[in-house]
């Protein structure tokens, strides 16, 4: 096994009682106090996440925008200055290299256009190679700045109020999916109202050696309000309830955005790698569709379990677990389109036994009202 990477906060996690596990080539905390407690803390108060394992690529140069338009599914030209947006990076056949968040940042002092692309930890090397392989013909500079930046997320209904104690400017002025420069003590960086939990909250990018200082300051400021450190276990259950896709589960190199319900992240009126195949799937129809379901009979669906009806396989589970907010066993699955209708009953095959489930509305958890 190759050596696992550690974030600068490794020792802090261990001291906080974090149980460290392998994830995407990194040694990360899966839980501290317990997944259920951490999940509820983010839904009701606030939670702090070390997400430094994620990769950040800086894209600059005169052709930064056309390059990203070519590479990514979403219309990057529509991002206002300081706005961030979700976009997929696809292969020519329309399947997914990775999902990304793209930040349109202020121009460099040299006047060059300036973007930052945030990618998944486990895909960082693959994404970098893919992006490098497609620079020909574009006047762009790519820089992998992952090792220079520390990335953390602070999410939950109390996140803004707690963070405000540390910040002089009015955080409520940062609109949903917008970013700006910020300062905590002497540490400066970029803060954005983005996240992966279905809650209001922020993600921050700061110099790597400021990581511990900012982490400690936020936890201390949030202690009285019930803010806690949150591990990858609750990060997964939170994103799952909000139906945010996870690479290797809802999206991968065998799935197009159409099937995964991510057509909204594709601007089919522009050219980008994979566009023709995605458009074709959209017009001709797909052979699988992502649905949400709840277990009717006792049992927990897990990734890769077969979905069947009357004994015939009709699909496969992408994510399944006990959903802490609802206290129900829920799941996401790819099923043949004729079984995707709301209220359709099917079986999930759990350890060889069919266990009844029913499709339900997704996202399971939607809190958009709080997102400005």
């Amino acid at each position: 096994m190759s050596e696992l990477k550690r974030t600068p906060l490794y020792a802090t996690h261990v001291a906080l009682g974090g149980r460290m596990v392998e994830f995407g080539g990194w040694e990360m905390p899966v839980q501290y106090a317990g997944i259920l407690e951490e999940h509820h803390a983010v839904r009701t108060a606030a939670g702090l996440f070390d997400v430094d394992h994620m990769g950040q690529f800086e894209v600059t140069g005169a052709d930064a925008l056309p390059y990203l338009q070519h590479l990514l599914t979403a219309n990057i030209a529509a991002l206002a200055l300081n706005e961030a947006g979700y976009a997929l990076m696809c292969y020519a056949d329309g399947t997914v290299v990775d999902d990304t968040f793209v930040y349109h940042l202020p121009r460099k002092k040299t006047g060059e256009a300036h973007y930052m692309v945030v990618v998944n930890a486990g895909n960082r090397a693959k994404d970098w190679a893919w992006m490098k392989a497609h620079v020909a013909g574009f006047r762009v500079n790519l820089r992998d700045i992952s090792d220079h930046l520390y990335m953390l997320a602070f999410q939950g209904p109390q996140a803004e109020q707690i963070l405000q104690k540390l910040e002089s400017f009015d955080l409520s002025k940062i609109k949903y999916h917008f970013a700006r420069a910020f300062k905590i003590g002497k540490q400066s960086g970029l803060i954005a109202r983005t996240g992966y939990t279905g809650e209001d909250g922020f993600e921050m990018f700061i110099p790597v050696d400021s990581g511990k200082h900012v982490w400690d300051a936020i936890l201390e400021a949030g202690k009285a309000a019930g803010a806690q450190p949150i591990g990858l276990g609750a990060r997964d259950s939170l994103r799952f309830e909000a139906k945010m896709p996870l690479y290797g589960h809802e999206i991968d190199a065998h799935t197009t955005p159409i099937e995964a319900g991510l057509t909204w992240a594709c601007d089919l009126d522009k050219m980008f790698i994979g566009r023709d195949c995605i458009l074709k799937r959209k017009l001709e129809g797909v052979t699988k569709k992502l649905v949400g379901f709840e277990m009717i009979e006792p049992g927990v669906a897990r990734k890769d379990y077969t979905v069947a009806q009357a004994g015939n396989p009709i699909g496969v589970v992408t994510t399944g677990m006990f959903a802490p907010t609802f206290k129900k066993n829920l799941g996401l699955a790819f099923v043949a389109p004729e079984f995707a209708k709301l209220g359709t009953e099917f079986d999930v095959i759990i350890r060889g036994k069919p266990v009844k489930a029913r499709t339900v509305k997704t996202p399971f958890y939607a809190n958009r009202a709080k997102m400005k």
Binding site: L36, D236, V300, F322
Partner: protein
């Protein structure tokens, strides 16, 4: 559920796969150890066998599901299932709250009482975990 203060009760035996077995009259009560529940994290579902089912020592008899994953639980002794803990249906978290008591899984009527002798005593079980010999 802190890792720091795990219990290793000396009144019962342990399997390397982290089940405990405690004689009770002519039956053997079975559950998972405090160490096991701490490793599993929040237990959200427990699947138990039907009363009367024949079990073989070392073979899986049920499944415990945490938020993250499903794990098999293994019979520490051979025999038949004499009782199951129905309370785990309503409150699977009993496994976390009281692994050695209210969080018991099943009672086995053993077919070979000598099976118990093959299990570890508490001190040996604890030592093996501390030494990293079992996980």
């Amino acid at each position: 559920m802190s890792d720091q203060q795990l219990n290793y009760l000396a009144d019962r035996k342990y399997a390397e796969s982290h089940e405990w077995a405690k004689p009770e009259g002519e039956l053997v009560v079975v559950g998972v150890s405090d160490y096991a529940q701490s490793q599993l994290g929040d237990v959200v579902f427990v699947e138990l066998p039907a009363v009367g089912k024949a079990l073989e020592a070392g073979k899986a008899f049920g499944v415990v599901e945490s938020v993250k994953a499903a794990s098999d639980v293994y019979a520490p002794v051979s025999g038949t299932v004499a009782a199951i803990n129905d309370a785990l249906n309503a409150d699977p978290a009993l496994v976390n709250k009281d692994a050695f008591g209210a969080g018991w899984f099943i009672k086995i009527k053993p077919s070979n009482p000598a099976d118990l002798e093959k299990l570890l005593d508490a001190a040996t079980y604890e030592k093996k975990i501390a030494a990293g010999e079992i996980h």
